[in-house]
Symmetry: C2
Subunit: 260 residues, 2 copies
């Protein structure tokens, strides 16, 4: 099967022009088919503040009211997505930028929660795999903004990590998929205080061992649980590491590789 890389970058890359430029250069040079899922970063919050739209948070999570949805749609699917695409095009990487509404790429529903109304936040129902495979035949790269829709005309703000995971799972039936989560650390760390304590490889046994001995800090557990869920659904490999080392992550020379 042909290889496809699904790479997720977060706000720490999107918000930093120098880091983003370097990352996009490395991403352009990745051989083969690739999908980039980008998060939002601080631009949307900054813009909401400038426009005087109060941002409500609940336990660290943003409540997406109608005005906030308007802003994240503009910033994520407009400003960030199109600037990334234009920069990839300048690197001769033939990228196309999409939201989840485009071609019904990602259909979702408004989150149902008895205790708190998160507003226009989407939980994913399905991915349009046939559109993805058709586009990957003619494009080098697809750049996905974290906005989905409910097929009833409503756009929805959706977690970029989850989008990356669902795209990777959907493509796993047709391609050898490697799912790469770029974050602000060099990989999964044995010691949260030591940036160089990266665990190079984690398989299921190692994960159970790490959980049992509490040799791994709590913040990593959900990431690893998600990684194994992706592997369970047909993703071949999950890699976690720093955005500045994309090439090395792919080559297995940096970050944490997660397989069975």
């Amino acid at each position: 099967m042909e290889k496809v890389f699904v790479v997720k970058i977060g706000g720490n890359v999107v918000d930093n022009d120098t880091a983003l430029h370097a990352f996009l250069e490395a991403f352009s040079q990745v051989e083969g088919k690739k999908i980039l899922v980008h998060g939002g970063g601080k631009i949307a919050t900054k813009m909401a503040n400038e426009l005087g739209i109060p941002q409500q948070m609940n336990e660290g999570r943003r409540i997406t009211d109608a005005e906030t949805l308007k802003i994240v749609t503009m910033v994520y699917a407009g400003y960030i997505n199109k600037n990334i695409v234009a920069k990839l095009q300048a690197n001769n990487c033939n990228a196309i930028g999409l939201s989840g509404a485009d071609g019904n790429l990602i259909q979702a529903h408004k989150r149902v929660n008895a205790n708190i109304d998160y507003g226009y936040v989407g939980d994913i129902d399905q991915v349009n795999t046939s559109l993805l495979t058709a586009l990957l035949k003619v494009q080098d790269a697809i750049v996905v903004a974290p906005i989905t829709h409910d097929k009833q005309g409503q756009l929805l703000n959706t977690n970029a990590d989850t989008i990356a995971q669902e795209l990777a799972k959907a493509l796993g039936q047709h391609y050898d998929v490697e799912l790469i989560y770029c974050f602000e650390k060099k990989g999964v760390l044995l010691d949260a205080a030591n940036d160089d304590s990266v665990i190079a490889h984690i398989d299921k046994n190692k994960f159970e061992e790490l959980k049992g001995t509490k040799a791994i800090f709590d913040g990593m557990i959900p990431k690893l649980t998600n990684a194994f869920a992706a592997l369970d659904s047909g993703v071949k490999k999950v890699i976690i590491g720093h955005a500045s080392a994309l090439k090395q992550l792919i080559e297995g020379n940096a970050g944490t590789g997660i397989t069975y």
Copy 2:
């Protein structure tokens, strides 16, 4: 040859929720392949005002400085484009929304003008016809925002009328293209003061006659000149009329049809 409709709507539709809703319903029902090019409307200007970004105009034309480009990219390629796509998807019209940067759809260069610097405004160099034809095979509709790029990483604000015309011309080699300009009048009027004085059909002889007798008001001359330029470049028919009558425009029961 298969038929493709290229339809342009302007701010008067985009700014009016009721009008936009009705238009998108009619557009969804158009049989066959179709491309919708949308202008910007007043949302960008409103947002610039709210953010305290002064808008410079020169002879009625907006100067697109860096901050204004950021806003039009967000509003046109983000907010407007994705909301239109989500609404078309709700109408079971499988639409995909693109800017000119996506898949290198529309390559342009920053306008060169010795007298005045219009800022980040793009004049079109080329259309990626093979991407359009590939997408039209798998999608019902393509929705194009009036943002292009220079292939050097720079996004550019670009006139939506010109984009519609260039897309129609590029597709004319592969499809029977009908180019439909929706505007705030019912069609080309004999008498600017009488909304019902629509000229149903204009060919080249009629156009010369109208220009000679000055039986047509000046504002229509550039639109008609552009229409004949499109016909010269392989577009089969140009139709000018009101957005509220899309079905009738296509059926030849409203607006002005322009052919040789």
